[in-house]
Structure formats: C-alpha cells, structure tokens
C-alpha cells in the first residue's frame, strides 16, 4: 500500500494530464511530417523521450511552486508541498527524467530533436520560471513558446530537419496559450495575487484580460485557417477549424459578459477540448489526404 502511494506521488509530479495533451500534439506533428506512416521506432522512442523530458520540466515546476502550492487548499496536498517527497528527491527525479529523455532522443531518434527538446526545457525552466513568470504580465505569452514546441519536436523526430510547415501547429498552440491560460488565471486570481505573480487579470484587471482573450481568439481563428491556406490540410480540417473557432469565440463572448468565475473554469476546460479536437482534425484530415 505504501509503495503504490510513493509511486503515485512521483507519477503526480510529472503532471500526467498536461503531458498527455502535449503528446497528442507531438503525435500530430509526427504524422503531418510524412506522407507515409511514421516509423514505429520513431513513434515509440520519440514519444517516450519527449514525454520524459516534458515530465522533467513538470517536476521542476512543482519544485518551484511548492510555496504557492502549500498555501492553497486546492494544491496543498501535492507531493512536494506536503513534504512527502523531499526537495532533493524531486530534484534528482527531475534531472534523471530530463537526462534519460535526452539520451533516448539522442541515440534512438535524432540529434536535432534532442537539441530542440533541450532548448524547450531550458526555455521553460530558466527563461519562464526564473525570469518571466514573476516579472511581466506577458509571462505566459512569451513563455508559451516553450509549451508550443511539441508538434515541432514530433515533426523533426520524423524528418530530422525543420520545415516551414512544421511551424504551423506550433503557431496555433502559441496563440492558443494566452486565452487558455488567462481563463485559469481569472479563476485562480486570488491565488496568484497571494503568490505575488503578476498575471494579467491582477495587473490590468479582469475585463481587460477578457478583452485580450477575445482578441487572441480572433487571431487564433485566423491562424487555424493557415493549414488549409498553405494546402497542408484539406476541407475536413477547414470545416472543423471553422466550427471549433466559432464555438471558442462564442465561449469567450459568454465569458466576457458574465462575472462568474465558474465560467472562467469552464472556458479553461473548453480550451483544452478545443485544442485536442483541432489537432485530431489535423490528423484525420492528413490521413484522408494520404489514403484518398
């Protein structure tokens, strides 16, 4: 019984839900890169390597946020915040995860993917956590670049080089991140306030943030049309992107008109579903083109 709890704690440190969403975008990147099927070894080792490196970054995040987590009821039971896992153990775990991920990518996938993954983890751990997060309300806009990288990593895992088209899914996640994250920031405004983190709803107010979210969603709508415009994707994707884009905008407008924080949480959940469906559409459309 005790053993499984320890394992569960370590598993929780990796933020499995976030990693799963990240992996879905990685897989789509892998599939879009080739007109045939993804080689099975790249699929397996690429996935494992990127998942391990991403988990390393997640553990670093737990380490850094332990003081904030300990203060909030919602997160006070997290493994490091509640001291079930010591700082040293977590740090060791993070290093091992990141190192094994990089080793797998280096030896079983390719050099470029390993290098880009390292840059992504560094961008997240050093640039975002140490500099941006506590310094500017644009923290997640710039820091979102690191979170947007997985489709590119998937792509380079297959091709070994950076194509112009590989940036399209990255661009989509990059523009999707601010409205996605600000929805959570509105919901958790007081937590961020207590933790003294300059999130946009705190520095510029909730209405201003909601306006920005609408603007970003409009931008996102335009950008999600790019895969069709560049002929990377076909009609199946286009129709899904338009429907999803309209739904996302409607959700944003609904959030803009209400004061309930519950709506912000709903918007946050919706944004995740939106992204998953959009990327699934990219994938299905790709196979409609390949097979058809």
């Amino acid at each position: 019984m005790l053993k499984t709890t320890v394992l569960q704690d370590y598993f929780m440190l990796c933020k499995p839900k976030v990693i799963i969403v990240m992996l879905v975008t990685t897989w789509v990147g892998m599939h879009l890169a080739t007109m045939t099927f993804v080689p099975w070894d790249i699929l397996i080792f690429g996935t494992i390597g990127i998942a391990l490196a991403g988990s390393g970054a997640a553990v670093i995040n737990h380490l850094v946020d332990r003081h904030i987590d300990a203060k909030m009821i919602r997160t006070e039971n997290r493994p490091i915040a509640s001291k079930r896992i010591s700082i040293f153990q977590a740090a060791l775990f993070a290093s091992l995860l990141a190192m094994s991920g990089l080793l797998i990518l280096s030896f079983l996938v390719n050099f470029l993917t390993a290098f880009l993954t390292l840059l992504t983890v560094l961008g997240y751990a050093v640039l975002y956590t140490l500099f941006l997060k506590r310094r500017t309300p644009q923290n997640i806009v710039i820091g979102g670049a690191a979170g947007a990288m997985p489709p590119l990593l998937g792509w380079t895992a297959v091709t070994g080089e950076i194509d112009a088209l590989a940036w399209l899914p990255v661009l989509i996640i990059f523009v999707w991140t601010p409205p996605h994250f600000w929805a959570l920031a509105i919901y958790r405004k007081e937590d961020y306030q207590n933790a003294n983190i300059p999130m946009l709803p705190i520095t510029h107010g909730v209405p201003f943030t909601k306006l920005y979210m609408i603007l970003y969603t409009c931008l996102l709508f335009a950008i999600t049309l790019l895969p069709y415009a560049t002929q990377m994707s076909g009609l199946v994707y286009l129709i899904t992107a338009i429907i999803l884009g309209i739904a996302f905008l409607v959700q944003m407008l609904a959030l803009y008109r209400t004061c309930s924080t519950y709506m912000a949480l709903k918007t946050f959940s919706f944004s995740i579903i939106y992204l998953l469906l959009l990327f699934t559409a990219l994938l299905i459309d790709h196979y409609v083109q390949v097979l058809g």
Binding site: G56, I60, L63, V64, H67, I87, F88, A91, L92, A94, S95, A98, M99, L102, L103, S106, F111, A114, F115, L118, V121, L122, A125, V126, T129, L130, E161, I162
Partner: protein, 339 residues
C-alpha cells in the same frame, strides 16, 4: 540511504567548490577554442577513447600516420571536460542535498539544469567527432559551453556573502539596459560561433569594410542554413553566405559595442558605489580588448593566440556583464524608507 550521507556544510565550502568549477569551465572553453583553432577536433577519430584507448601510449605513437600533437590536444580537452563533468555533478549534488525551504528558486533549478546541460555537452562533444565537425554541432557545442559557464557563474554568485548597497536613482533603467546588453552579447557570441563553425573568419581580409567580390549579394536564407556541412564532406555554405555571416558578425560587434559599452558607461555614471563602478570598468576594459582582438584576427590572418583569446575574452565579457546584472538586482539594495 542518501539521508545520512551529507550534513549541512559551511557555506564557504560551496563557494570554494563553485569557484573551482567555474574556473575549470573557463579552462575547458579555452581548451575547446584551442582544439578547434589548431584543427585538432578530429585528432581522435573515435569517441570517447582515442584510437580505442583511454590514454595514448606507444602503440598509438608508433604509428607514423597519427598526428600525436593533435590527438593529445583533443584528449586534453576531453580529460578536462570530464573533470568538469565530475565537478558539476558534485556541486549539483551537494547544493541540492543541502537545499531547504528557504532556498531561492535558482539554487534549486540551476543545479538540475547544469547536470542536464553537461550531459548534452558530452553528447555534442561526441557528435563533433562522429559527425566530422558539422557546423551546427560545433556551434551548439560552443553555445552549450558558454551557457554552462554563465549558469555556473550565476550559481557561484549566489553563494557569495550577501551585501546591501545604498539605493540607486536609476536602478530600474540600469536593469533594463543590462538585459539589452546581455541579449546583444549573446546574439553576437552566436554569430561568432557560426562564423567560426563555417570557416568564415577570413572571407574578407579588410577592416572595417569587406573586399566584396563583384557578384556578391546578401544571402540570409543560405547564411542560416543549419544543415550546412564542411567542405570536402558535404555541401558547405556558399561563399556569399560566408561573407554575409562575416558582415553580420561585424555589424553585431557594432551593436554590442553600443549596448554593452552604453550599459557599462551608464553603470559607471549612475552606480554610485565602488562595486558597480569597478564592474563597469572591467566590462568596458574587456569590451575594448575583445574588439581589438577581433580586428587583429582579421588583419593578421587569424593568429592562433589571438583567435583563442578572442573566444576566451568573449567568455569573460559574458561573465562580467552577468556579474554587473546580478549586482543591479533590487535585492542587493536597501529599500527606500517610507516615513
């Protein structure tokens, strides 16, 4: 098991270990530049051993086709890099082992990042050899080395005794300048690395202007073609692209002079304490040295000592800007009294 291994140490031991590690990193960077510039990067055709051996002995030196000087240069770099790896591992281990709830974020993150970086540097060292000096690998190796050094020094600074300086008038402005200076300097180091990796140091032999061939045109797309290879092995950058990168490195030098020079001048003017003034003077001195070395490189056709120094002083300049940046952080200043 690990719990009983280490007890809290006196902070001076951390500082000592960190200083030794940073010094070793500087030596490894210098050796790396020496290895590249003496063309010894392929002195050993294999990795991690050299001709299958950990230590070169008579069985290797008996072979007349093997250039022993190059092999030893390459191996010295590897031995020192290996020692640095051990030093970084122990520094990271002891730092994390003794971390507690009061430790700042960077004392937790930097050791983790340093170990991961170090592993990747080892891999890049291997690929430098196995991929036969592929320019993007060479540049990534240099970039990794500089980053390791910078982060090590940052960690070292946090182990130094805390100080409280008298509040400065334009602290926020100076901080902003420091960020601009650091960014330009980093880009300039990248451009320098790309210049060297693609053998573009001597593509135009005049200064300040290039002797440009008749058919020259700027070619940015080709200049940053990351899959460029080394001549004789694959497809290298075109002459146009190599001239472009040389031009960019010169323009970068101009920008760096303006931003880093401006930053150190402003720190001298507004930093009303000995520490900031001494650091800004040091930065200015290193900047002037670095520019002179760069010009000498072009005019004297890349003499070995000057070329190695150009790389080494770049590392020192980076550390000096980081130190200045560190001591311009508000936590080192007494807060204004609001009464």
């Amino acid at each position: 098991m690990l719990g009983n291994l280490v007890r809290p140490y006196h902070p001076k031991i951390f500082l000592f270990l960190a200083l030794i590690t940073t010094a070793t990193a500087l030596i490894v960077i210098g050796l790396g530049a020496y290895t590249r510039l003496t063309d010894s990067g392929l002195g050993c055709p294999d990795w991690p051993g050299c001709y299958g051996q950990w230590f070169l002995d008579h069985t290797v030196s008996a072979n007349p086709t093997i250039n022993m000087k190059k092999a030893w240069t390459e191996m010295t770099h590897r031995y020192m890099a290996g020692s640095l790896g051990l030093l970084i591992t122990s520094l990271a281990f002891f730092t994390l082992r003794n971390s507690n709830d009061e430790n700042s974020k960077k004392v937790l993150i930097l050791p983790i990042v340093l170990i991961v970086l170090m592993l990747f540097q080892a891999l890049l060292g291997k690929w430098t050899v196995t991929l036969k000096l592929l320019p993007s690998v060479v540049m990534a190796h240099l970039l990794g080395g500089m980053t390791t050094l910078a982060l090590l020094w940052w960690l070292t600074l946090t182990f130094l005794p805390k100080i409280k300086l008298v509040q400065l008038k334009y602290l926020k402005k100076l901080q902003r300048w420091s960020l601009i200076a650091l960014t330009t300097l980093s880009i300039q180091i990248l451009l320098g690395g790309w210049t060297s990796a693609n053998y573009a140091a001597l593509v135009c032999l005049d200064f300040p202007f290039c002797q440009i061939p008749q058919d020259f045109h700027l070619d940015f797309l080709e200049t940053f073609r990351l899959n460029a290879e080394v001549a004789g092995i694959g497809e290298p950058l075109t002459q146009n692209a190599r001239i472009t990168i040389q031009l960019l490195h010169r323009i970068g030098a101009l920008f760096t002079t303006l931003t880093v020079g401006g930053f150190s001048a402003l720190s001298w003017i507004y930093g009303k304490n000995f520490l900031i003034r001494a650091l800004s003077l040091l930065t200015m001195f290193l900047l002037i040295t670095q520019i002179s070395l760069g010009i000498t490189n072009v005019l004297m056709l890349l003499p070995l000592s000057i070329a190695v120094a150009h790389n080494f002083v770049a590392a020192l300049l980076l550390l000096s800007v980081i130190t200045l940046m560190y001591y311009l952080h508000p936590s080192h200043y007494k807060s204004y009294e609001h009464h």
